[in-house]
Amino acid sequence: MPMTLLQKPWLWSWLAAAASFALIVGLTEGRGAGGLAYAALSFGAFAAIVGLGQMLVISLGPGNVDLSIPATMTLASTLALKAMGSEPGTVAMGLGVALLVGLATGLANFALIYLLRLPPIIATLAASLVYQSLAIWSNRGLRIRPPAALAEFATGRSLGVPNVALVALALSIALWIMLERSVWGRWLLASGQNLRAARLAGIPVEAVRAACYVTVSLFAAVAGFLLASFSGGAALNMGQEYLLMSIAVVVIGGTSVAGGASNVPGIWGASLFMFLVVSMLNSYGASAGLRMVLTGLIIIGIVIAASTRRALR
């Protein structure tokens, strides 16, 4: 059924990713295609993990977005690397610390939203300033290296696929099953479509919202932990680019910003695309400024293409 394929909201992000891949490979006449795919999977994995979390929150409906992702990534990885202190055999503890940080920031965010009735945008923005300060205070400008085994894992590959991509894939599949097959997923989408109706139908909407805000923080913590291990240490600005990135991959991936519809495959297409489009513009020799302008125009172009497709249906 070609029509049903065309109607899949994730199609556009995958088409865009494939087109940029083809354009780069076309330029190099096929050389380096494997290396490029490998790099796209490695870097795309981090965007995919934070994008999956952001997708859950955005699915909750208009106004729901987590702006504290970069701060959570930085804080979780800083504290985790400090706890591990480059010692071997501490990886599980480090991951535990990162997850605890994610849990704490997620609960704090939701407490501000629920108890103080703050709009999520403002709540997560204000809270992220506090997390950032905590990270600055605990970091002290030191760059602690991750334990060798962890660094090896984060930069290594299994069966030719980067390990970080495998982790991101496992998280995606788990989340996809939860969204499509479990009652929690139904509850989440129902809450995003109409909060009031969902509440009247007896869905514990506040518990659903809490779960989403905690999950996005946990995912951000995992992404930060992996990114710090991948790049040889935590840095205070390491999360910066993932604020816009997390929102961009969600929307390019075809998740509706109106809420109530989420889309796991689209996140992957969009994450790969966001890396590939920059590489493509790089390999065609675009200057930094031109690269940014074209990236922005391409993002808007995809959103327009996806929305006119929706309107035709």
Binding site: P62, Q132, S133, I247, S287, S307
Partner: protein
């Protein structure tokens, strides 16, 4: 009317409390020069907050404002100084681009948050092309205007009052302002009443572009040079300023005077924390904490206004 007053009470009270605390910590700030220093950077932030308010007024949100103000600053520090006419034309084109953006967002029913996200890359890229490394100089007239020393009231305070009064007249008291807020409240009934929502949205975005341009120019007048990242934090500051000022994300419920006061509060919070001699590690975090505290106080006011 009472609701409007309640809406304004929180920003006014929080600014007053913060100002009192600052004076208590540093009595010397209670002077012409002290106030000027405290609110020095408030003018561009207030203008950017008004720009953001125009977008929030029609139920959208602008994630590109910081990048846009940076671009304007770069244009003002280069073209406007070297070739004033070209500079003016570029700035005019930027305002029109904003209006066109509003029209496109409405006509194609696109999510504003995403389109402006994309535009933030476009503005940022253009700024980087114009000014690859920090530099440029402010036009002399702009610097003179921003460093004017009017008698009795510091420039920053006088300008803020002027901005508040002008935007209040435009958005709250004028007929077109009421219709514009109506677009945020109920676009369909505005349409039924015979207005073109497309044009109104273009107008709201155009006004946002205009105030964004003014913000960038004011910023260059103060800093005398620019770089491509000079105002990136304005995106979040302006959103926080609108909400601090009693605005809401939906329903066209915004208050221009409140937004200006919100911007002043945010500026003052930074100065206040400086006076506290807080360790630099905690400066940002304390700013977040102040933001949370003020907004928590909003709970009390909104409950009261619901009863009133």
């Amino acid at each position: 009317m009472t609701r409007d007053i309640y809406r304004l009470m929180l920003p006014v009270v929080s600014l007053a409390v913060l100002l009192a605390a600052t004076f208590w910590l540093q009595p010397r700030a209670m002077s012409y020069f002290g106030l000027n220093l405290l609110f020095n950077l408030a003018v561009p932030i207030a203008l950017a907050t008004i720009a953001q308010m125009m977008i929030i007024m029609v139920n959208d949100i602008d994630l590109s404002l910081g990048a846009f103000v940076s671009l304007v600053a770069c244009v003002a520090a280069t073209f406007l100084t070297d070739a004033p006419l070209t500079g003016m034309l570029i700035l005019l084109a930027l305002v029109l681009a904003y209006a066109a953006l509003g029209a496109v967002i409405h006509a194609l029913d696109l999510p504003a948050i995403v389109v402006t996200l994309g535009m933030s890359f476009v503005w940022g890229g253009l700024a980087l092309t114009i000014l690859p490394s920090p530099g440029g100089t402010s036009p002399d007239w702009l610097r003179m205007l921003m460093t004017l020393k009017p008698p009795s009231v510091p420039m920053a305070v006088a300008a803020s009052i002027l901005i508040a009064v002008v935007t209040h007249l435009l958005i709250v008291r004028s007929g077109i302002g009421t219709v514009l807020r109506g677009v945020g409240g109920n676009a369909r009934s505005v349409q039924r009443a015979g207005w073109s929502v497309l044009r109104l949205k273009a107008l709201a975005y155009g006004l946002a572009g205009l105030f964004g341009v003014l913000a960038g120019m004011a910023l260059v007048g103060l800093t005398t040079s620019a770089d491509a990242n000079i105002a990136l934090r304005y995106t979040l500051l302006s959103i926080a300023g609108v909400i601090l000022g009693g605005g809401e994300f939906t329903g066209g419920r915004v208050s221009p005077a409140g937004a200006v006061i919100g911007a002043l509060t945010l500026t003052l919070a930074a100065s206040f924390l400086n006076f506290l001699r807080l360790s630099p590690d905690w400066q940002i975090g304390a700013q977040g904490a102040v933001l949370i505290l003020v907004l928590a106080a909003r709970l009390l006011f909104t409950r009261r206004s619901a009863r009133a």
